[in-house]
Symmetry: C4
Subunit: 214 residues, 4 copies
């Protein structure tokens, strides 16, 4: 486990990254399947395609938010793996749980888009913010497991940098927990918090003097 | 075939792994397409989104089970290829048969989710457990073909380790054959066995002192 | 263009292969989307799930045939690229045309599955066999363009081997042209020829003393 | 940032390219999902499958145009990354915006195919040409950001070649702006311009003595 086979260890991480990239790429592209073309229905007055598209604004807003959130998650996944050198079976399972949650995002997005203008909007937003909260929790668990006694990290990883990242990553779950809890009171405020978080995490870190986190 | 071109052999395995990863990544993500958003139908009483989602529990259960089973299959595929150095045409075909079965999982999952609460549930569970049985059989055939006289394995693979893996892998088909046969008597018991097997194979091997197997 | 940058040339081929693998992996997995779950319709007598699945035999047969044909195409694409070292813009376009045809296979497969038991079956089989014929023609054009004066091949490629492959590859279009023309007379015979060709091309070459070809 | 870790920088670019390839491969394959099989509807006269397929010509034309446009975009993305050695957070976001637009192409294509023969065709073509215009703008922004003071380019990139590419790339947005503006006057002319641009950008550059651009 020490020095004999670094190339094999390299290859192992590479295939996990490639598989994760594949799942994330398919999930982020499937989001667009929910952007249905509006049909002109017989017997209904038709106010034109522009109006029909404008009426679908919740679908586009949910699409943009979910795309940005998955993209930020991919950037973080990518940054985490730059520090990781080895993987083990439990880490594979945690990564699998993260991928499962990412593949659920298109479903949660459809749910939100369909119910955001209806009376059940709070339930839909609870599911939506809950999916993001679960993603933030699993992502944190992955990092903490990898960094625990430096278990899976590269030998060249700086310990003070590792502690700094651990501290920064722990804000993500707290912020998404807030959004999740607010969803039980107001779907709109919770959604606004989710939008704010996605934009905040997407801003280049050199503008905010921090490392990207979720 | 001996030493002249190791880089080309390396590249060959790499592209087969990448293609397999692509197919598995798409199949595992397409599972989520079956998670339809419940619609409020005109003329039907509406008990709210929470009830509607709760009524879909078979869809979520089947989704989780299929996701976990494909994930475990990917982990095993990944572990097998760490020992494989060369591929030939018949091995490509066996791998193709495994990919075919993996792409059938979303269909078998939809079938199970739709019929698990109906009178035809046994037929649906026979198809579902049968798909997993076929996956276990083809996976075993791949390993045995690769290990036969060490044909496709890395020259550094330890023969006693290879025999040990062959022995462990042979339990997968037997266990899934049991689940398959039980499906003709009770869909629920067969499904419970499938859940148990997926969880068992997913548990980190260091907790059970064994190599992952299917 | 001669010797200065071999690593960059290597990378170029690698990304084209990865992109092609991605498209082929998605297309081969999307085939399974056509395997719809049979629904029990109100007002219709229901003979059970087993009968309903058995009635869908054309869908399963078309699925298997299309999966095998795309898989054989991937194997051939993979074998071709083992001999190719450089790519140019026209080769990228030819590869793009091949990918376009491969992404059309799920559509042609759905068409065939829906019409094989109806009066318009000949039209559907003309489209289906025509798609395979076009794939074989474009694949041949790629090989001939790459091998022309050894333009894109590895410097180590043996000229007599190259001429032998060129000769063998030229049978694919002729065989698929036959299947295509028969489709105007009999859908069933043309389909049987397509099945025979897919099985023939999939058989390991050491059993037939030939190189795989389409 | 200078010489200490070239292998890590290499890997970073590699994973961004692989993720981008995955998203583009899924998006280009999802285009084919819009190619629906025509169904023989009860109560409607049926003029045969050939007529039904011929009536769908706008779907096939839109499919071909969108496939070619995404393919050309992939070729350009590929060519750009041959010159790029480093990436930063803002570049990741710009690349993310490009991927978002590429995943919108199947939606814009469906919209165009459905409305090109209806009275709202201008609105549909505004969305379609607008998507391509946005892609050309974001692609240009990526290149200009990467080339700004040679920030993200390989140290071996020739400055005069870089300035020449910058000049050539700037034509793409101007040409697509023209197509976009024409869409407000005539959907057909705007669509013809889009077809012309896709064909022009796809022609091998050695025939036109220029570098591929969008």
């Amino acid at each position: 486990m020490s020095a004999p086979n670094p190339p094999s260890a390299e290859k192992e991480t590479g295939r996990l990254e490639a598989f994760s990239d594949g799942v994330i790429a398919v999930a982020i592209t499937l989001l667009a399947l929910d952007l249905g073309v509006p049909h002109q229905e017989a017997g209904h007055p038709w106010h034109g395609l522009v109006h029909a598209l404008a009426d679908q604004w919740p679908i586009y807003m949910a699409y943009l938010l979910s795309f940005l959130t998955i993209l930020v998650m991919w950037v973080n996944h990518h940054n985490m793996f730059k520090l990781i050198e080895r993987i083990d079976h439990l880490f594979l399972l945690l990564n699998g749980a993260l991928l499962l949650l990412i593949t659920l995002v298109p479903f949660a997005t459809s749910l939100l888009a369909e119910y955001i203008e209806q009376s059940d909007k709070k339930s839909a937003q609870v599911v939506y913010a809950g999916t993001f909260l679960a993603m933030a929790l699993v992502f944190n668990a992955m990092w903490r497991y990898a960094a625990r006694q430096g278990g899976l990290l590269s030998a060249t990883a700086d310990q003070s940098q590792v502690r700094s990242i651990t501290k920064q990553y722990s804000f993500g779950p707290l912020l998404y927990l807030t959004a999740f809890l607010i969803a039980f009171i107001s779907a709109e405020v919770s959604l606004a918090v989710c939008i704010g978080l996605a934009v905040f995490f997407a801003i280049p870190s050199n503008l905010l003097q921090r490392t990207p986190a979720i």
